[in-house]
C-alpha cells in the first residue's frame, strides 16, 4: 500500500458498516439469546430453592442433549432451505431395530452400529426422494414420519423391547466425571464438530449459498443435490445417535418413543436464530437455544407447572424472541 492511496482513503473514508463493533455485537441474535438464558437462569434460582444444585442441573441436561444432537444437523438442513420432520420417527425406528437386535444377544458395538446404520438408511431414503425425484422435503418427510414410526408400531404393537446388554447403558446413564454425563460430553463434541463444518469449511459455505440462492449456487459450481443429500444423511445419522443415547438411557423401546420431538427440534433450531426460510443461522445460536429450552422446561418442572402449560410457555418464548427484534426495529424507524 503506497502513501498516496492511504491519504486518499483517509480523505474519503466510507465505513464498511454503520455501527461500531460493540453495537453490532449487542444486536447479534446469539447475544440476545444468551441474555435470555441468563435471565431465565437467574429467575429460576429465585423461583425455586432446588434449582442451584449441581446434580439437579446435571439431571436437567438430559431434557435437551438428545434433541440438540438432532438440532445441529437440522440447523444445517434448514439453512440449506430444506427440512426433515421425520427425525423423531427415524429415532423410533432405529431404537426398534436395536431392540430387535438386542433380542439376538449381539454385543454393544454392533447395537450402536445398527442404530446409526438405521438412521443413515432412513436419511438416505429421505434424501433420495428429495434430491433424486425433486420432491418438496416437507411433504416427503411428513410421509416418512408416518412410515418410519408405522413400521415400529407394526413390529412392536403394544409390546416393548428390553433386555439390552448391561454395557449399553453407558451412553445414556454414564458419567464422564462428577456431574458431567457422557451425553453432555457427546453434545459438546458434536457442537464443536458442527461448528467447524458449518463455519469453517467449504461445505459450510456451500450450505449457506444453497439456502440463499439454490440456482445461483448451482451456477457457481456447487453440487446442490449432492450437498442436500449429505445433509439428509446427517439428520438421519444424528437421529441414530440420539436413538442410541435415548434407548440406552431408557433401557427399553416402545414405538411411542420420542413422540413429538420433531417439533421440539425445529423449535430449538428456529429459537437459535436459524432462518426457517434458509440462508442464515449459526451453531452457537442453536447451542444457546438448547440450554434455554432445557432451563425453561426444568425450571417450570420444579414449580410443577403442567407440561401442557409448559408447551404454551415455549411457544410464547419462540414467538416473543422472534417478534421482539422486529418490533424493536419498527419502533426505531418511527
Amino acid at each position: 500500500m503506497t502513501d498516496a492511496t492511504l491519504v486518499n482513503e483517509q480523505r474519503r473514508h466510507i465505513p464498511d458498516r454503520l455501527e461500531g463493533p460493540a453495537a453490532r455485537l449487542a444486536k447479534r441474535w446469539e447475544v440476545l439469546l444468551l441474555a435470555v438464558a441468563v435471565a431465565i437462569f437467574v429467575a429460576n434460582s429465585f423461583a425455586s430453592p432446588y434449582f442451584l444444585n449441581a446434580w439437579n442441573l446435571s439431571d436437567a441436561t438430559f431434557n435437551f442433549t438428545e434433541k440438540a444432537m438432532i438440532a445441529f444437523a437440522m440447523a444445517l438442513l434448514i439453512i440449506a432451505g430444506e427440512i426433515d420432520l421425520s427425525v423423531a420417527s427415524i429415532l423410533a425406528l432405529a431404537s426398534t431395530a436395536m431392540g430387535a437386535a438386542a433380542q439376538l444377544d449381539v454385543g454393544v458395538p454392533v447395537l450402536v452400529l445398527i442404530g446409526l446404520g438405521t438412521g443413515l438408511m432412513c436419511g438416505a431414503f429421505n434424501g433420495l426422494l428429495v434430491t433424486g425425484f425433486g420432491l418438496p422435503s416437507i411433504v416427503v418427510t411428513i410421509g416418512t414420519m408416518s412410515l418410519f414410526r408405522g413400521i415400529s408400531y407394526i413390529v412392536l404393537g403394544d409390546q416393548a423391547y428390553g433386555g439390552y446388554p448391561s454395557g449399553f447403558s453407558w451412553f445414556g446413564r454414564g458419567y464422564a466425571f462428577w456431574v458431567i454425563s457422557i451425553e453432555l460430553v457427546l453434545f459438546a463434541a458434536l457442537a464443536l464438530i458442527y461448528y467447524v463444518v458449518l463455519h469453517r469449511t467449504n461445505f459450510g459455505r456451500a450450505v449457506y449459498a444453497i439456502g440463499n440462492n439454490p440456482t445461483g449456487a448451482l451456477f457457481s459450481g456447487i453440487r446442490v443435490a449432492r450437498v442436500k443429500f449429505v445433509l439428509f444423511l446427517l439428520t438421519g445419522l444424528m437421529s441414530g445417535v440420539a436413538a442410541v443415547c435415548l434407548t440406552s438411557r431408557l433401557g427399553s423401546t416402545r414405538p411411542s418413543i420420542a413422540t413429538g420431538w420433531e417439533l421440539e427440534v425445529v423449535t430449538m433450531v428456529v429459537l437459535g436464530g436459524v432462518n426457517i426460510l434458509g440462508g442464515s443461522g449459526s451453531i452457537p445460536g442453536v447451542v444457546i437455544a438448547a440450554f434455554v429450552m432445557g432451563l425453561v422446561t426444568f425450571g417450570l418442572g420444579l414449580l410443577n407447572v403442567p407440561g401442557i402449560v409448559m408447551s404454551i410457555f415455549v411457544g410464547l418464548l419462540l414467538i416473543g424472541v422472534i417478534a421482539l427484534p422486529r418490533l424493536w426495529g419498527m419502533w426505531r424507524r418511527r
Binding site: S169, L250, S252, G260, G301, I308, S311
Partner: protein
Amino acid sequence: MGMTRRLFGGAALAALALAGGAASAQDDTVRIALVVKALGIGFFEAAAEGAQEAADELGNVELIYTGPTDTTAEGQIEVINSLIAQQVDAIAVSANDTDALVPALQRAMERGITVISWDSGVAPEGREMHLNPSSNALIGNMIIKLAADHLPDGGQVAILSASATATNQNTWIEEMNAVMGNYPGIEVVATVYGDDLADKSYREAQGLMQTYPDLDAIIAPTSVGIVAAARAVEDAGKVGQVNVTGLGLPSEMAGAIESGASQSFAIWNPIDLGYSATMLAYALATDQAEAAPGAEIPMGRMGTLTLDDNSEGAMADPFTYDASNIDEFKDIF
C-alpha cells in the same frame, strides 16, 4: 449504585424468604406426587380427584398432581427428575414403561423418597410396592356375579371375550369357572371371541342370540365387546330379555344403561384408586407401615391392603356401575 444494591438486596431477601418458607413447609407437610401416564386423560383426572380427597382427609399433605403431555417414558423421567430435585416425600406413579423408569425411581429411593406404583406397574426393583386396582380372582368372580344378580332363578349365560389368546381375559374366565359353584342354576352355554373388534364382536353377539334363543345374559370382559354386544341386543329388540354385562367404560356404556340393554357392568373406580395410592404413599412415607411381602397397609375408607410375595396388592372388587351412578361417571372416563 444505591439503586442496584437495593434491588439486589431485595431479591436476596425474597430468595431467603422463599427458601425459608419451603424449608419450614417441609417440616410438617408431607409432599406426595401423583404421577400419571399423561395429563388430560379423564381416568387420571378422576384419580387426582380421589388423591385430593385423601390429602384433605389426612390434612398435612400437599398433593402434586403431575405427568407428561404424551404417554412416553422419557416424558415421565423428566417429571420424576424434577420431583427428585424438589425432594418430595413420596412418588406414586402409573408407569408408561415397566423398565424405563427403574433407574430414575431407584435414584429417588436412594435419596429417601418413598416410591410406589399404581394402576400400571413398575418392575419390582424400581418401587417399594404396587397397587393393582383389582385382582384376577376378584374380577373373575365379579363378572359372573353381575350376571347372576339379575337371574335369581338361574339361567343361560354366554361369554363374549376378546381374542382366544388374550392373557387377561383367559385368566379372568378361568377364575370365573373356579367360582361357578357359588352360583347354582347359572349355566355357561358358550364362549365366543370377538377379537376386540367392534364389528366381529357385534356379529358374534348376534350369533349367540340366534343359536341360544333362551339366552339370559352375555358377559363381555372387554370394553370393546361389551359395547358391541349391547348394540346387538338393542338391534335385535331383545332389551329386557338378554342382559349385557362385564367390564366396560362408563362413557361408552352410558347409552346401553339408558336403553336397558345393560343392567350393570363393572370396572375399577379411578377415584378410589387415586385415593388409595395417596393413602398408601402417606403411610409409607411417614413410616406408619413398611412395604414388605405380607404387610398390611391402611388405606383410609378403602380398608387395608395386603401385599403378596412381589409386594403387590389388590385394592378392591371392581366397582359396579348402573343407572344410579352412570351419569356421575360417564363424563370422567
